[in-house]
Point group: C2
């Protein structure tokens, strides 16, 4: 696979990805002509975090997850053919922090929109996330038997049902937005659909997943690593935030701020994932530690060292929060706390 890996790296260098890179994104808020994330974040300005002492983040996440779980349960009922809808619900209602829906609802709130208007889009984010996990776990992909301590979808329902459940969930996400989003201009709903579809496909998480697979056991550079994480992880976080903002009636400038915010926390999420893999035990993580080392995977700590990686993550989070400076501090408090939650998580 070495040849393929080299080609991938070259491709990334030879032609810019269609989607704006972190560099370009950070450039919106920074002096021009920065050449890498590292240099970009190194010049981050001091940030003003809205005073949100009264904001109870745990309570917010708990009540949001509850509402999202209820909405998901209603959106995907158990119906004929039961073997299919049961399999869809098995993975969809398996718990989790519901970070993507929370980001979507919080972004909507940050621009003055209502949670009701954003709930279908918020659910769609979780539906797409779930389908990507079901397919990623398949034997021909990551071949995982367990997820969050439970057997993976294909271990319970078979590989054929797992593939079909993922397909059904993917299609349903768009139907759900199109049919259930109320009180929002249809042009905006169409933008939400195209934003999410793009984030889900070849120019989003599928593209990231493909480059990740083809980079296994291959030395790749920072550009390719960034491509993988911006697409595999950050794209759906970005869609979550941008779609919430779109539904909430954001201005174009607000949408672009939200985009920078989301890419920052998306990339930071992955840098931190790499750091935790090296620094934490399997018990602390709740999943196998040192997995990246075992699989000879390229990571931020390997490329930059742990201290520098921590600095990158920290700067990305600070820069993300700085994007929210011009928003109402109270309305933006959930987004600020979500960034910190991602930036300072320990597992």
């Amino acid at each position: 696979m070495a040849a393929s890996g080299i080609r991938l790296t070259r491709s990334v260098r030879a032609k810019p990805c269609r989607s704006t890179s972190v560099k370009q994104v950070l450039a919106l808020a920074k002096p021009p002509r920065q050449q890498s994330v590292l240099r970009a974040v190194a010049t981050a300005q001091p940030i003003t975090v809205p005073d949100a002492t009264k904001f109870d983040f745990e309570q917010y996440m708990g009540s949001t997850a509850k509402k999202v779980n209820e909405a998901l349960g209603v959106a995907v009922p158990l119906e004929y053919p039961e073997v299919l809808t049961e399999s869809m619900r098995y993975s969809l209602l398996a718990g989790g922090k519901r970070v993507r829906p929370a980001l979507c609802l919080a972004a909507c709130q940050a621009v003055g929109g209502s949670a009701e208007a954003a709930m279908p889009a918020a659910c769609a984010m979780e539906i797409i996330h779930t389908m990507s996990l079901i397919h990623d776990d398949l034997p021909s992909m990551d071949n995982d038997d367990f997820r969050r301590g439970s057997p993976t979808n294909h271990k319970v329902y078979g590989e054929d049902m797992a593939i079909l459940s993922g397909d059904a969930l993917l299609a349903f996400a768009f139907e759900h937005i199109a049919v259930e989003t109320k009180g929002v201009a249809p042009e905006r709903v169409l933008r939400v659909i195209s934003e999410l579809a793009r984030a889900s496909g070849a120019r989003g998480l599928v593209g990231g997943q493909v480059v990740d697979i083809k980079s296994e056991n291959v030395e790749v550079g920072l550009d390719t690593l960034e491509y993988i994480h911006l697409h595999k992880t950050a794209a759906l976080l970005e869609a979550s935030v941008v779609c919430g903002a779109l539904v909430g009636g954001a201005t174009e400038e607000q949408i672009e701020r939200m985009r920078v915010y989301a890419r920052g926390i998306g990339l930071a999420f992955q840098v931190i994932d790499d750091i935790l893999d090296v620094t934490k035990t399997t018990e602390e993580l709740g999943k196998t530690a040192a997995k990246d080392l075992a699989s000879a995977k390229t990571t931020y700590p390997k490329l930059l060292g742990i201290e520098k990686s921590k600095q990158v993550a920290d700067d990305l989070i600070k820069n993300a929060i700085a994007q929210l400076d011009d928003f109402d501090p109270n309305a933006a408090a959930p987004l600020v706390h979500l960034a910190k939650f991602i930036g300072y998580r320990q597992n």
Copy 2:
């Protein structure tokens, strides 16, 4: 699997499917209280086929396929990561009659719309059809090595890429409609998206595929057979026609007529498929003949006999064409000929 098969059959009987059944659909044009397709079509009225002596169907299909192929090639360019987009294009541009896009464009034309407005939706129909073929061919599904004489997607690109290509195509279909449909009211475009998404998911082709898989080597009744074909085959044909009509500015009554038309030809398509499997040789079909018999699959000829099955198909086609009586005969000529093409095909 016998227990599961029995349960499925019972479910179909115990509770009506959410989507309107053929019976209900035919009832729109027929006296009420018909209980089965057979009885429904037995009472079909004499039909008036628009005089379309000047219409060159072969030329129409050829030029339509050419335009659709060009549009598909532009819609899904070869770009980074090339292994993914090459795999998507491999299956998408592998030829075929492009029946679904033709139905979409013809339906748009039948209500006075322009082909340009319907082209993104027409492409989306083929994109969804292609993704369903890629996933159906997978080892854990039908495990097919060849399709139209060429190796299946996973035989060329591997199982992981085939799954991911299908996912990327599915997501892209909705993005393409949302971004590229021009000159159509956004509310209509949203209806197109929800119509197609529904047809692609658990209440459409994925649902049909699941019941088909779970009915293998199980004796199922006519209700279940109808469910399978209405969902696995007819749903996407229906979406093609209805979405074309929606984009073309059809009235609600025209849309319902189109829906009945499409369900009729969709079900007829499958009845004829079953008949051809019994009556034709492998050479004549271009695929393995008598496959259904070998796999102990429930088919229309098995349930009704060949002659009765032929009568059902014929009546379904005639009833479909009868739905077009109130349309301008010239504008509707392509739809009439498409119905005949499906009804009287020999392979």
